[in-house]
Every structure is written in C-alpha cells, then in structure tokens.
Amino acid sequence: MPRRLKDRMQDKPLLAGAFALTVLFCLFFGAKLVLIALHHPPRPTDPPIANWMTPGYVAHTWHVPKEMMLEVVGPRPGERRETLDEVAERLGITTPELIARIETAIADYRATHPEAAPE
C-alpha cells in the first residue's frame, strides 16, 4: 500500500475499519451470488405446493383452471381468501392430504388436457 494511503488509514481508524468491513461484506455477498449462479438448479416448472398458498395461487402457478381447483377444495365459505392450511381444516383433513389430493387432480387434469401439461 502506498505510504500516503497508509497514513490516511491510520489518520482515521474508525473510517478505515468501517471501510474494511464494507469491502468484506461486498465480497461476501458477491461470493454468495456466484455460488447461487453456479449451483442453482434449473428452474422447476411446477413450484412445490405449500401450506401458505391459496387455491387460486396454485392454479395460476401450475397453469390449471381455477374451476378445477374449486372441485377439489369446494367453494369457500365467505369472502375471505383461504390458504391451503385453512382449506384442509375446513375439509377436516391434514394439509399434506389436501396437497396430495390437489396433485392427483392436477395430474388427472393434465392427462385429459395435454395442452395444459408443462413443456
């Protein structure tokens, strides 16, 4: 390091410390981004179905009609949007059971509607 730069760092130890810390943070996030880019699995066509999703959200992300989802989950009782956890509770089953039912229904739908199947 040139002498003048070193002098300046010693002149302002607090700023120099903060500077070193931000450089480290920058390298840390940069390395994480490189790792994501290298190891990211190819984007799945169908995102895994999770308890926080609503039937409409699943229909949208799996590219199936909402009417098909309605047949599985039944009409919602009120105006309130239901998550899959709440639908399962209303139907008196567990969330994994509900998710399995939805997955079966989507598979059946795709079998009869080849245009709806993912590429």
């Binding site: 943070f25 995102p47 229909a59 949007r81």
Partner: protein, 203 residues
Amino acid sequence: MTDTLLAMVPHYGAWIVLVATFFSCLALPMPSSLIMLAAGAFAAAGELSLMASVGAAWGGAVVGDQTGYAIGAKGGAPLVQRLKRRKKAAETILRAEAMLHRRGVSTVFLTRWLFSPLGPYVNFVGGATDLPWRHFTIGSISGETVWVTLYVGLGFAFAGQIAEVAQIASNVAGFLAAGAMAVWLGWLIFHRRVHPHHGGTRR
C-alpha cells in the same frame, strides 16, 4: 417463519404490504421485499388487486420515509451538532454532510431501490443534517416508485419462484449496498480536500 409470513399476505392483503414497507423505511427488520414479491404473485393469480398492492406498498414506503426524516430531524440533529463540535469528528461530518447535500436528490433516489438497504439510514441522516425537505421528498417519491414497481412487478412475473427471486434480490441488494458504502467511505478517507474548514471538497 417464512410460511407464516407469506400466509399473512392473502389474509390481510394490501394492509400487510403497507405495514411492511412503512416499518422497513425505519430500519426495522421487515421482510418487505418478500412481502412485495408475494403481493405481486397473489395479484398475478387474481387473488389480490395489483393496483391496491402497488399503492399500499408505495404509500407505506413514502410515509415511512417522511417518518424516518422527521425522527432524524428531531432526535438526530442535536447529536450531529455535538459531533461537529468535536475536533476529530467535525471534519468528516462536515464533508459527509456537504456531499449528501450536494447530491441530495440522487442519493435519496438511489438508496430507495438500487442501494435499498441504506435507505432507512439516509432517512435519519437526511433529517439530522437538515437536508432540504423538498429534495428529500422528490428523491423519496421517485425512488420508492421504482422500488415498489420493481418488486411487485417481479412477483407478478415470477409468481411461482418468489422464494428464489427473494434470495437473489437480497444478495444483489447486499452486494450493491456494501459496494456503495465502500466507495463512499473510501472517498471520505482517501480523497484530498482543498477547503477542509469550509466543508468544501475538491470537485
């Protein structure tokens, strides 16, 4: 934890988006990016209104910025005055203040979205160093528009991959914010001054 949070978006709709962006402007640990992405995704699925989601996120952010600025002006200004009287800190404070004031609008604008993790601190510092309110507000309104459109828009476009998008976005934001801070601190340490006693710097 993330699931509980995401489940709140269909339950509370635009309100949760507003609350999240408001508090994130005050440096509170709010996963506002993830919530905006989720709101965009639920809007794409037809479960939420896109305009309401964008409007709520924007309103929360703009009011949050003003709140942060006011907190800085009330609580931070006396501290800045005290630091200016301390010989060692005064020079740095004056130079930082001069730089912020010279590029007030663009600093506020860019720390809303491109360097968003720095945003809340710029709110406090802007208020504490008496950054002209009009400059602050122009930067805040334009910058928050970009921030909100970006995140709700990404959620809308990548509805099925919001967790992945959130992960990439948070690392990009961290990288850019740390980089910007490093450049700024490097400038404060290494850049030679011509008129240190007037808080002026070589242009």
